[in-house]
């Protein structure tokens, strides 16, 4: 029963929503019901799907770049205490700066719409995967580090055979959080870039529909965004479980 509870709740909620809209006689341009929203999507499905593909493409690219840069910086900081002391305080700046505040600047500087949206999304997706990986690299049990030393391990052995594998669960947990944030960063940057009329992502569909007061289309794009977020989260969670199960953990 608990397994199906989320689905049941969603169905119940949608039915209630449709009924309320109809009984109240609310106009579609203010509060559309689920049926009107699906109708708006079905009117131009290829346009929505192309926008979805664009947004997901940017999100995936940004997540990949954030993961590579995050792991690289975590490794540098693990290898050099001086680098750690120099960078550590500044990484927080990336975490606390609101992306919508930097996005206009990035758009102006970079020019290319795809690149500027990817950069914004990378900035916001970077911190969780970086900080989780840095924590994981430092989390190897001291006894195991002693054991490596006793057996004459070189730094490289310790990194490859102990620190990196020990950091994997941390990395995966960070990647999952970064995945959600990459989508948030993509949409925020698309909204900024989209107001200049350059982007093609789902956020632009929302802006465009908003100007024309096509509220059901706004909702349709919004629903696709939420579904993407849920799917990204679930996919990264499944990836993590599969990798850890594959090496005999969890």
């Amino acid at each position: 029963m608990t397994r199906f509870a989320p689905t049941l709740f969603a169905g119940f909620f949608l039915v209630l929503w449709e009924a309320a809209v109809r009984l109240a006689g609310a106009p579609e341009y203010l509060v559309p019901g689920p049926v009107a929203i699906v109708g708006a999507f079905l009117a131009t499905p290829s346009l929505f799907l192309a926008s979805l593909a664009s947004t997901l493409g940017v999100t995936a690219t940004a997540l990949a770049v954030a993961a590579v840069l995050g792991v690289a910086l975590a490794l540098v900081m693990q290898a050099s205490p001086l680098a750690r002391a120099a960078f550590q305080p500044w990484t927080v700046v990336l975490q606390v700066t609101p992306i919508v505040a930097i996005a206009p600047l990035v758009v102006v500087w970079v020019g290319d719409p795809f690149a500027s949206v990817v950069i914004c999304a990378t900035i916001i997706a970077f911190f969780p995967v970086f900080s989780a990986t840095a924590t994981g690299l430092a989390a190897a049990p001291p006894e195991l580090l002693d054991l490596f030393r006793l057996n004459g391990a070189r730094r490289w052995d310790t990194l490859l055979l102990l620190r990196l594998p020990a950091a994997l669960p941390y990395f995966l947990a960070g990647l999952r959080i970064s995945g959600g944030l990459a989508l948030v960063g993509t949409v925020s940057a698309e909204i900024v870039a989209g107001s200049g009329g350059v982007a093609s992502g789902l956020a632009y569909r929302i802006l465009e529909a908003g100007y024309r007061l096509q509220v059901p289309r706004m909702f349709a794009a919004l629903a696709l965004l939420s579904a993407s977020g849920v799917a990204i989260n679930a996919a990264l969670g499944a990836l993590g479980r599969a990798l850890l199960r594959g090496r005999g953990e969890a």
Binding site: L147, D157, L161
Partner: protein
């Protein structure tokens, strides 16, 4: 095999863990280091292993030089296995770090697992093993390099009594079979008396060697029920109480 000469270890925070601890460890000895919590037993073991350096005093090896990597086996209180590697790969680790290939070491790995009775669990991951079995893997990992000196830091403290008795008996058997030197740290007077040929008592912190008692017990599982065992436990308990009383005075 080695002599500890008035070792002093003072940590940067001012804690003096060891104060002029001296001890001779002969080749083939089985020594238990017995003392209250915090008296510096682990510190002493780490100094012997070369994982930490004394502030004063020195460690003199009979061979003239400190042991090469792999010549010392270390077993910690926790099994500290790699959770992502199966039992065989965990045992392989020390050999791998010394540049051996997995296929070239297969026979040694299998022999080490067989020595601790786990030949059928080579492909089991740590999470599929019981606490006692994990500790056996940890012991096999320490033995696979054929160390001349085996250092053990309360390896059985976290195990239930049935498993502990079994592992104590197995360890004693391995010691007799392999002829290596063992220094075994424990809190337990019973464990110290059952296992060791020499029971070394340490004072409360800062740790010094308070006294040494030589066991005349015939080793083996039957020793637990021998009158000599009870007498030895009593003798060590008396010595321990006297040492604690002197420290409190």
């Amino acid at each position: 095999m080695l002599t500890l000469d008035r070792l002093v270890r003072r940590f940067p925070n001012g804690t003096e863990a060891l104060h002029e601890a001296s001890l001779h460890i002969g080749k083939g000895d089985f020594i238990t280091l017995l003392g209250p919590s915090g008296c510096g037993k682990s510190t002493l073991l780490r100094l012997i292993a070369g994982l930490d350096q004394p502030d004063q005093g020195r460690i003199a090896w009979a061979s003239g030089t400190a042991p090469a990597p792999g010549e010392i086996g270390f077993v910690f209180q926790d099994p500290t296995l790699l959770p992502w590697a199966d039992a065989a790969d965990n045992v392989f680790l020390p050999l791998r770090l010394r540049g051996r290939s997995r296929s070239g070491a297969a026979a040694e790995i299998q022999a080490a697992l067989a020595r601790v009775g786990l030949e059928r669990f080579a492909h089991a991951h740590p999470r599929e093993l019981s606490g006692g079995m994990r500790m056996r893997v940890s012991i096999a990992r320490a033995l696979v390099t054929r160390p001349r000196l085996l250092l053990m830091d309360e390896p059985f403290a976290a195990l239930d009594e049935f498993t502990r008795f079994r592992l104590q008996e197995d360890l004693q058997g391995l010691w007799r079979e392999l002829g290596c030197t063992v220094v075994f740290v424990t809190h337990s007077i019973y464990e110290a008396c059952f296992l060791a040929r020499r029971i070394v008592l340490m004072t409360p912190r800062p740790g010094r060697i308070a006294q040494e008692i030589v066991s005349r017990l015939t080793p083996g599982p039957g020793a637990r029920l021998a009158l000599a065992y009870t007498e030895l436990v009593a003798e060590v308990t008396r010595a321990m109480q006297a040492s604690l009383a002197r420290a409190a005075a």
